[in-house]
Point group: C2
């Protein structure tokens, strides 16, 4: 079957040239007579792949030298727990900003270890907006301030880095990393599961300002200790080598396409096209997010009549538009339009939506 | 380049038919027009893959119904830490049997959480033997007894399941799972990183007797809690879907080839062939492990003169025999001959070793 346009929220669509390269060298990588899946992570061949992936990510999103970069197994949820273990004392105050489902998950993970304070929440609006940073109540004794830059389910996004007055800012960028230029130096820690904007499922990226690694944190096993992972160059144990390699191919593809500046332009055009189609549908489709908090990455929308949902999903699938069903928390529809979603995919979706509205309006 | 015989200790060689299938469907899986890497873990398509992989693993190694099976990100080292968090009270005694590098690693991970006792060790022999179970000193108040069924670096293996007199036995089977029939009902927990005998790097398997999940364990984040993972069917967060899928292809391949009984026969023949070549080399090669503790999976060996090591490695590589360099802890050579290593590969190695000895003897 020809490739479809896949709007899955994550695991998500990958660049076709990346998949083609991975396919072509799956049984024989780099003339070794073996797959890159099959070779030692500590051999010089994979070590070069790992180092190149880190160098390319550093170039791609302009990571300063005083930040360590980790490529680890486990996703963002694991990172959410380990952040408290590594960067806060037992029972210490930590500030959490709640802007949707995933920031609530992040807070839940740390409850056994710290004293989480809710610095701000937009839950009373059904997470249809983000709490403006000017409204955040920060604790002077907090170890850090955590927020979720983009909420995959609720489709809200902070479009600027919040000013937290010198506190260590920790950002979950799972669904928006590398989608636009970002001043990494504003952060204590940035983390992301790779399976949305960075590539394959099964590996996560942490970007940690090195001075935070001097914090003693809490009693923990070495394998849960980011200091040990930094010392071990993400190879404290066998890393998810193939996933890391595939992420590296995505980084290289993004650089070759023009880097984050180019993807920021593409992503802005894609989001504008889709929101215009929704807003201009005369109420057939609607997005409920406050205008200034609309996500460029995940666009939840509803049909004016839920009875049409099943037809929308089956007809869109037949039209080669995959995975538009909304998350069960919200219902409705959702289109995830990460870096690897081509503009042609969003155009095809918009064309389908217009056609569907005409036929069912 | 044609495929070589790859003796890597892990990540390790995979069955060629599995890699061929993965390659052929990498861009379009199951007629979806998308890769299995790109689709939702919660969609019906991947859920079927996940369920089939579990069913096939249950059939392959005869897992009783009162055991839960988890497929998780992170490797065995992560499991080693979480085992203490999940199955022991804070500071509780736990018994560890030390038979090599990896059992020492397992013990190191739990020190922050419990009171580990060394029930037995063969360190005084340089881990050239395993401590016989009759010599183990078990603590009556221990939460569990942990041992490492096969030591990848030292090349020693327990060939029978130890009798621990009703204690909860936890076995690290990372490098020998599914290599021969095993009575799973003798265990409280079996765990394994998949990248040796079960398939791809990036996913680990835990087999947990369900009554152990009733233990309260220690304060921990939900993402570090095996009860939550069991409730969430290994999808508490986004799992490493592609790695899980590839492991499933390996399970299916093993069943089609005749199951663990057949692999036990092949593995016994492979190990016998290689050890005979070493023992019959008139001292040109030597393996230092006590006869009854020799691993069927990882065969470390030394040349009679270390000055020949570089020539052995370069000539074996030129002969299509990859990754024979020993682990840095021991030096020398090591051949890992897991399930996916064909008998022809071991024959080619033995032929090369004989030829090398003649030319350099």
């Amino acid at each position: 079957m020809p490739r479809v346009f896949n709007f899955s929220a994550g695991p998500a669509t990958l660049p076709e040239p990346v998949l083609q390269q991975a396919r072509d060298e799956l049984l024989d990588w780099n003339g070794m007579g073996a797959s890159i899946i099959e070779i030692s992570h500590r051999g010089p061949e994979f070590m070069r792949v790992a180092a190149q992936a880190e160098a390319d990510l550093r170039e791609l999103i302009s990571i300063p030298d005083d930040y360590a970069v980790l490529f680890l197994a486990g996703g963002a949820t694991t990172a959410q727990a380990l952040i408290a273990l590594n960067f806060a004392d037992p029972g210490q105050a930590v500030d959490y900003v709640l802007s949707g489902h995933w920031s609530k998950t992040a807070l839940k993970q740390v409850r056994p270890y710290v004293d989480p304070r809710i610095a701000a929440t937009s839950e009373e609006s059904g997470f249809r907006d983000v709490p403006p940073p000017s409204s955040w109540t920060l604790s002077p004794d907090a170890a850090y301030v955590h927020y979720t830059a983009n909420e995959t389910i609720h489709g809200v996004e902070f479009h600027d880095v919040p000013d937290v007055d010198g506190a260590a800012l920790i950002g979950d960028f799972s669904s928006s990393i590398a989608s636009a230029p970002l001043d990494v130096s504003r952060f204590g820690v940035l983390y992301a599961g790779a399976q949305k904007n960075l590539g394959p499922v099964g590996v996560s990226v942490l970007i940690i300002r090195r001075d935070l690694l001097e914090r003693s944190g809490q009693p923990r096993a070495e394998i849960l200790d980011y200091r040990a992972h930094v010392r071990g160059e993400s190879m404290l144990n066998t890393p998810p080598t193939w996933n890391w390699y595939l992420a590296g191919l995505v980084f290289r593809w993004m650089l070759d396409e023009g880097g984050v500046e180019e993807f920021a332009r593409r992503n802005a055009r894609k989001a504008a096209l889709l929101y215009q189609a929704i807003d201009g549908s005369g109420g057939f489709y609607r997005n409920e997010v406050a205008f200034g908090a609309r996500s460029r990455m995940n666009v939840p929308f509803f049909l004016h009549d839920d009875v049409l949902n099943a037809a929308f999903l089956s007809e869109s699938k037949a039209a080669g538009l995959l995975a538009l069903k909304g998350h069960r928390v919200l219902g409705g529809m959702r289109a995830s339009i990460y870096n690897a979603m081509p503009e042609a995919g969003v155009q095809a979706l918009v064309d389908f939506m217009g056609d569907f509205a005409r036929r069912h309006g």
